[in-house]
Symmetry: C2
Subunit: 547 residues, 2 copies
Amino acid sequence: MAERKANEIFKEFKEHSIAEFFKKNKQMLGYAGLVRSLVTVVHEYVTNSLDACEEAGILPDISVSISQSGENRYIVEVGDNGPGIPKKFAGKALATILAGTKFHRYIQQRGQQGIGAAGCTLFSQITTGKPVGMRAFTKDGEAYSCSIAIDTMGNKPVITETKELENPEGITGTIIRAEFAEVKYENSEHGVYEYLKRTALANPHAQIRFRDPEGKEYTFVRSSDAVPELPKQTLPHPLGLSIMDILDFAKKSQESSVASFLMASFSRVSQGKVKELKEIATGVDFSKKPKEMTWNDSEELVKAFKQVKWLAPDASVIRPIGADRVRLAVRSILNPEYMHVIERKPQVFKGGIPFIVEAAISYGGGSGKKVGNEEYTGSILRFANKVPLLFDTGSCAITQAVRDIQWKRYGIDMDNQPVSVLVNISSVYVPYSGVGKEAIAQEDEIIDEIKLALQEAARNIQRYMHGKQQVNVEKNKYKTIMRYVSQLSKDLGSLTGTDKAVIRGKLEELVTEHYPKVKEEEETKDEDESTLEIVESSSEEEKGENE
Amino acid sequence: MAERKANEIFKEFKEHSIAEFFKKNKQMLGYAGLVRSLVTVVHEYVTNSLDACEEAGILPDISVSISQSGENRYIVEVGDNGPGIPKKFAGKALATILAGTKFHRYIQQRGQQGIGAAGCTLFSQITTGKPVGMRAFTKDGEAYSCSIAIDTMGNKPVITETKELENPEGITGTIIRAEFAEVKYENSEHGVYEYLKRTALANPHAQIRFRDPEGKEYTFVRSSDAVPELPKQTLPHPLGLSIMDILDFAKKSQESSVASFLMASFSRVSQGKVKELKEIATGVDFSKKPKEMTWNDSEELVKAFKQVKWLAPDASVIRPIGADRVRLAVRSILNPEYMHVIERKPQVFKGGIPFIVEAAISYGGGSGKKVGNEEYTGSILRFANKVPLLFDTGSCAITQAVRDIQWKRYGIDMDNQPVSVLVNISSVYVPYSGVGKEAIAQEDEIIDEIKLALQEAARNIQRYMHGKQQVNVEKNKYKTIMRYVSQLSKDLGSLTGTDKAVIRGKLEELVTEHYPKVKEEEETKDEDESTLEIVESSSEEEKGENE
């Protein structure tokens, strides 16, 4: 074959938009497989609704409706009572990839990239050729509907059919209605129903209504009426900053000196700390403008940061699910024989990004995964910022942590017992391994922290299992002896003339004293039996309407 | 908490460049973990070099040199004898994400997205603040060096220090030298050495030299001098097209009618086929301009395509590793006791994208993963378009296929035996699950095809294992009987007066005839013992130069 010159080859050189890229690689957004693709759509819309309500201080009422419109073809409608999207931003919000309010902020939210909703529009467009329909009602009095598509070459919105709407009751909210092909509704562990149930469990303040393609309606009832405080936006902690981060912040800073820039831009930097830093980073001119900072300045600062004693990052910015809520979640999903929940203290990864791990291990009931008639293996329920993660299990930090633990040490056989592990990670920045946000990157500090949580829970489970074993041994002995008590009290009764019932009572008391565990067990049954309230109704007459 | 209005929230709405996005989410490009990040860098540069040489019809000579420049800080230099990058394209090639020659073409190449090299520049920049250095020599006489950085806000190159170079010998090629922090060299299964070794094995026509941070030099010697034919660029097969694909092609087409457009743009569409299509897709006007095609036209065509009998996609565009080469690879990496290699016929996924699966199963030797003293579990070696995949094992289609197989049916115990599975997938479009290209999306058709290949290989391994078992039984019997032969021939010799050696010989012959497997085994040892040639040299004097 003849050699080809560089110029011949490079004349085919082209640039592409991010929308073109994801159009070709939609599996990277989570659109791979019929069932998963539908869950991805619901996931993107519902997390956006939850975030929007949270940010506006509104108790979320979310409704999800899915109806079938053809073979592997469905219409999805998701509505919320959030603040609504102003008309000016509608196109960018739904049809520009990498646009949004979340990307540049340091705050705990479910979405963080500005890809999700635009990804749905792209997916609808490439599978059905149709735009996405939107209705929005804002508090400022905007009320309109429109259709939105993406010009993929330019990663720009194409808005059509804009109409003004009446809004006599002054409601607020956003309703999105879109059609998708190459999707499938399935009632499985990886399906939409399970996704919404888990979302409801991790978000007790949200009321979620769901209507499935058969017209069945479910309401996951709100169990907490407190509007959750909006997670506070926080300043980055010095220990979490890279050299580049500092330079990026410096470039945008309006402060007059490096000293004031550090105090204004990062958390825990006080006048006293600046003084300490000055003594260590002697090569840095703290009085010059932040814009004039060089790579070397920043590098010296990063090194100096490591030598100063800092208050830990402000973890009050993080909102975990909460131990009680995790317990409720496990009980509702698995109804186990026994469980133990751990809520760990805030930790940091990469030096200064705070995060909190919550974990639970449950045994028995619906725990584990049934693999045969009476055979089980362990299973994992993963959450990140209260969002259930159903896919890409294998590459997730949570899965890795579970794999790393030597369960046998704790008397737990992950391969052959009905055991479930639940883990939720909350952070202002969850390092997802992929754009589809279904797995957490395997950062050592995160894996280690999950392991500590699970080990703590495992020790408790071990005690339970050990206790259970002992109780079983005692129970057998107790039963055997009790068999004699009846005869013995009769015989002693005739011999002594005492009432045999009295003798029996005393004997039973004596025996029970010797086997305290049998009694204890009866007394320590879980009192709290509350589970997630799911109201189910089948609306036959409405079903027809959908088809 | 007070409710916030939409306008307040949305005033923070911003748009971001793809470079900004990956700057914040570098783990999505494979930059997660010190060891993995260094392999990612080498992987991106080496695959680019291999693709460039292949495209230019040049036998690749690639050299990789890694030297340490600080704690978790290394300088990587990768050079090739490819066509060189013309000065005009240098900036875009190395510092614009989503620019390249590969994205829009339908051809089997290792890279396919235009992200890799620019991702390296970004990673160097955010960890060291330094630009990437490049020297290039093209056949057209360009010879220059320059430094390249990314303006991440604009996803644009910033080129500095451009210098003209002498090139008296008229060589061609590109040499890239860049420094990275937050990386680490490690000699492990997931390290650079192993990555290069596996690359060499899958690319026999490439000569790869490697100098590690200790100054040790290795040459993975080229074992085939045939310049591989450039995989042909092909036209998409009708069965692989979505409605949107057809419209996209139609929009760009200069053809005068839909009929001629179909013949010009897609493979296997002849005049006869167009006639057939016309009879089925009666709603489509085949004489109108392709640009005028509607979604409905395209949808009707996609449906019609499914009713026509097509020749299979042209698989000559696909270049698998080749069965002999796979055998060599397995022998070189694992030196197993036994192996079986399968090269499957071309298949298609998503209707019309051709791909070929090659698979091997090996037993014993270095197969499997040592987990204890004498304990092993199965292991997987994954390749896509001849590129080794070392990370994200859990979420890959190959891993899923291996998990799906009921190995016990084939007498193989994946949990407790020294078994390795190798799979390579070759295609004009490998559906990677992430931007980092370390795992293949779980497309059902791909998983099924891998399973078929592995089941075929497993049956063969089963015969071997069964045979081995039988041979062991026979061997024991044979040995036991042979113990008597010596005494018997002596005794018979004294009784009959015949030479005991003659009697012994005849007896042995008799016994051996009864146990043919013992003899067979000795005769069927693997004759071909060739492995990858690796020349190792430690250049102490050169080592100093690097430090």
